[in-house]
């Protein structure tokens, strides 16, 4: 166990270290022109040491230094009450709730569509092209319209954002589940036929369990993409709350540190969500007698 853990920790840490180093270098080179400019205007020379120090501590840097982002993250998560509008945890929760709702609706919708497609020739022919076409529309263009239209009919808050998540997340589920529900071998299907099993019996006793691994794989993609959907859905809401709002206000006021910390929060959230789905998969597959 220990050896295994070490075996993975060392390379991961090495990669992280390299990334941080490159990041610091980038911070210096991207922020240096501004400092040189300032110095030139003030009509004085700037030494390298001072330049380095100043590039790492700008208030609105082009690229904030890692420690700046870290301090901001710490400050807005640990040092603020979670109910506060200035708490990143609060904003993350706003986004997360829309993500989860959208993911749940999207998964259910995807499963229902897949079941329909697998069982109905007409649906197979007619629905799949639309499902694919839906994903070629740029979500950034559609999201504001969905929000505006839903607002007009009196829907606001969580649901419109969740629906954008749904719009993105049902797609991998449909594709994965169609494949999964069609994955049983001919011989397994023949067996059901010899028993004179009904279609719903074949679905629940054969197709569904056979599709389970496919479902989890597509749910991993779907949950990550749901988060993207929720964030995109927050952009046109007038920046009220949520990680998307943090990104938007951050960019209005040039608060790059805020943008970056929101980005990190989003990434961490996505990683957690995918991990939770992965854990659920491991548990379910174990209960289904998967070979360890």
């Amino acid at each position: 166990m220990r050896a295994l853990a070490q075996g993975r920790t060392v390379p991961v840490m090495a990669v992280v270290a390299v990334i941080v180093l490159i990041w610091y270098a980038g911070t210096f080179f991207l922020n240096a022109p501004f400092e040189r400019d300032q110095a030139a205007r003030a009509g004085r020379e700037i030494a390298f040491g001072e330049l380095l120090e100043r590039t790492m501590a700008q208030e609105r840097p082009v690229l904030p230094a890692p420690h700046q982002v870290f301090v901001e993250l710490w400050d807005t998560t640990v040092n603020k009450a979670v109910t506060s509008r200035r708490s990143l945890v609060y904003h993350a929760w706003v986004t997360l709730s829309a993500t989860l709702l959208g993911f749940a609706i999207g998964t259910a919708l995807g499963i229902l569509l897949a079941i329909g497609i697998v069982h109905n020739r007409a649906m197979d022919k007619s629905v799949m092209p639309w499902v694919i076409a839906s994903q070629t529309v740029p979500i950034l263009a559609v999201a504001p319209m969905i929000i505006v239209v839903l607002n007009a009919i009196g829907l606001s808050g969580l649901l419109p954002k969740a629906l954008i998540s749904t719009y993105l997340s049902f797609f991998p589920v449909v594709v994965g589940m169609v494949k999964g529900l069609r994955s049983p071998e001919a011989i397994h299907l023949d067996l059901m036929r010899t028993y004179n099993a009904s279609r719903s019996q074949t679905l629940w006793k054969l197709r569904w369990p056979a599709a389970t691994p496919f479902l989890f794989t597509s749910m991993k993609v779907a949950v990550a993409i749901s988060l993207v959907g929720a964030i995109v859905g927050e952009l046109p809401t007038g920046a009220v709350a949520g990680l998307g709002a943090r990104l938007l206000t951050g960019s209005y006021y040039g608060q790059t540190i805020q943008i970056w910390s929101a980005l990190f929060m989003a990434a961490a959230l996505a990683a957690c969500l995918v991990m939770v789905v992965g854990l659920a998969q491991t548990m379910v597959m174990r209960r289904m007698g998967e070979r360890p």
Binding site: E185, I187, H188, D190, L191, M192, R193, T194, Y195, N196, A197, Q201, K205, L206, P209, T212, M288, G289, E290, R291
Partner: protein, 287 residues
């Protein structure tokens, strides 16, 4: 071109229902499967394939019929037609006096595929219970029947195991148990022991005969092995390919009680010889 090497068993007191003791009818038993001029042509990209051509077949209740023949002679296809998994393109076939589809809807047969075809997410007992669940047996009866069928194939103690935890032979036995769990009086078996080693195969052959004697099922059994066919069957159907057809039907003269040693007897070797001759005759069309 059917011939017969003597009558089989004297038709003793014929059992009216399944499970009615050892008295079993050979010839003259009520017909369970009857095919006339059965043909099946697969339309493939490389043109039509004559998988079955003008096959006549009569199988009586309680018979053990083996189908033997070279690869591609339509054995599987014939079994699948009987089971309504494939539609014939010509001729007629009746199973239990009705069309195969009706027989399938009546759940008249259990089918053992060449591969065990167990569902990997079900334990052995749940695999065996699958047809019972589908056919709506009550939970208590399900349990009882699962136990009984696992017992029949000597798999007691492996109920909670998953298929991958069992050897190939055990998996195949589980799939036989699954076909035995419900009251189908016809058992269709497609090379069920094809992938097993000789010793396991002998053992399973013995068990299958024992089971047949106990349950009075009608068994259609596909095999590539001449000794296996002769050892098990009351009747051997020899088939040949291109087009797939029946070239010989041999009635076994062996007694019903068949210890493994019977395979060294003269009678056994004579029947085996005839089967081999039949196979050779079919083969000479090729190459």
């Amino acid at each position: 071109m059917k011939r017969s090497t003597g009558a089989a068993q004297p038709a003793a007191a014929r059992p009216a229902k399944t499970g009615a003791g050892p008295g079993r009818a050979g010839d003259g038993a009520p017909t369970v499967i009857s095919a006339r001029g059965l043909s099946l042509t697969f339309e493939t990209d490389d043109g039509p394939v004559n998988a079955l051509s003008n096959v006549d077949l009569e199988v009586g209740r309680g018979q053990f019929v083996s189908f033997i023949g070279p690869s591609g002679c339509g054995k599987t296809t014939l079994l699948r037609v009987i089971a309504d998994l494939e539609q014939p393109t010509g001729g007629t076939i009746l199973v239990n006096g009705v069309a195969p589809e009706q027989a399938r809807l009546n759940r008249a047969y259990g089918y053992v595929f060449q591969a065990a075809a167990l569902y990997p997410w079900r334990t052995i007992e749940n695999n065996v219970a699958l047809p019972l669940e589908i056919m709506g047996y009550a939970a208590t009866e399900r349990k009882e029947r699962v136990q009984r069928s696992l017992d029949l194939v000597n798999l007691t103690g492996f109920e909670k195991k998953y298929p991958w935890q069992l050897s190939g032979g055990m998996q195949q036995r589980a799939s036989i148990a699954r076909a035995l769990a419900f009251d189908a009086d016809i058992l269709l078996m497609d090379e069920p022991f094809g992938a097993l080693d000789e010793i396991v195969r002998d053992h399973l052959n013995e068990q299958l005969l024992e089971l047949w004697a106990r349950t009075n099922k009608t068994i259609c059994f596909v095999t590539h092995s001449i000794p296996e066919a002769v050892y098990l069957s009351t009747r051997i159907v020899v088939m040949s390919p291109r087009p797939g057809r029946v070239t010989d039907v041999i009635e076994s003269t062996l007694p019903r009680e068949r210890p493994l040693e019977i395979r060294e007897s003269r009678q056994f070797l004579e029947i085996a010889h005839r089967v081999r001759e039949g196979l050779r005759a079919g083969h000479s069309y090729e190459e």
